[in-house]
Symmetry: C2
Amino acid sequence: MTATRYHHGNLREARAQAAVEAAREHGPDGLAIRELARRVGVSHNAAYRHFADREALVDVVAQVAMQGLTDAMARRQDDVDRTAPDDVPPSPQERARARLRATGLGYVDYALAEPGLFRVLFTAYPEAPDATPDADDPFGRLNLALDEMVEVGALDPARRPGAEIACWSAVHGFSMLLLEGPLRGLDPDTRTACLDVLLDTLDRGHPAA
Amino acid sequence: MTATRYHHGNLREARAQAAVEAAREHGPDGLAIRELARRVGVSHNAAYRHFADREALVDVVAQVAMQGLTDAMARRQDDVDRTAPDDVPPSPQERARARLRATGLGYVDYALAEPGLFRVLFTAYPEAPDATPDADDPFGRLNLALDEMVEVGALDPARRPGAEIACWSAVHGFSMLLLEGPLRGLDPDTRTACLDVLLDTLDRGHPAA
DNA sequence: GCCCCATGTGGACGCCGTCAACATGAAGGA
DNA sequence: TCCTTCATGTTGACGGCGTCCACATGGGGC
């Protein structure tokens, strides 16, 4: 896999990289085969040696985005333990709640930091989220966080099924409304305030007066 | 505004109707100016007498979808009072909670019943949801429902700000994950079960064991 | 040193949105 | 009644897109 092999260098790599860059800038619309060919300095159609069709190209970018999303969530989750004071360790329940909240924060973090990649991801998200929680998958991380909630007694096991979809829906909806929905243009301060309310609501529901 | 006036009948109307039909079947991708021209039996470019560009056409369909969404929410809300037993009227708190839940149910109802129109709506949703709650607007109906929650003491007024965005995010995210996200293919039973969990979570939060 | 086949090229087709120039005919005033 | 005007519809063109095809090229294995 040395560089500049073949006729034109290892094009697949260059092409994928250019695709990620374009998607980062212009979202799904930036993923045009011909435009990318131009950007890499190769003729259109060359892409078809490496990608079956446009969809395959999108899938490659989506995989990158998926990893980025996972990382963003992991970063926030790790923050929970890192920023906890050593002398007064939080209770397991507090920690579990904090980690669940961090999961959501990381999700929205990524959506806002990489709107283009985030939007590409959700035009090509693989259908069946694997049932086995996997820390290297956004949905898996969420499931692990919820399992922890149950383990430490912060969540009634009877209400565990479906909780992952509820949480995912909430942060995903918030992200979509912000990115390409009616909440675009919401200023950053209001944004974080609303996210706080959202995560609180998931945690405590609508508290009566 | 008689029918078949002008050269070709009142084309604007026919065109808009065809657009709605196409969007209903194929979502935003169905809204192609040329394709619609063919469908109406008129030459391409005729559209430009009535719509500035493709975006204007999308806006027309989005308005129809907006009305449909409002109606779906209203229907579910009206069901609350209609199905309540006359002899044992629910408490005001119960009624408010039920109406808020109905608001969410109606939202998802419409997303599932008219996926094409729903998706078009959210490629052209007007930016600033008006601050004044209006019963003829989806966001307004949600706000009214939440205001009722506060009035009857079912929601702490201090937690009212942002609640509308939390609720909207949740049902919107759920709809998007179902329509074009990783939850497409979820069978109807699991679907309604998950929606129940989602709405319960908004109401009561994550209850401890 | 030669041949094969992976890789890249150029052209074509049918879509799309959009602009400009032209055609048509209904409406309304002379 | 006729003639003009202007809204409405048509034809053609341009550039961009994804995709299929036939063809060119040259590096690596024999």
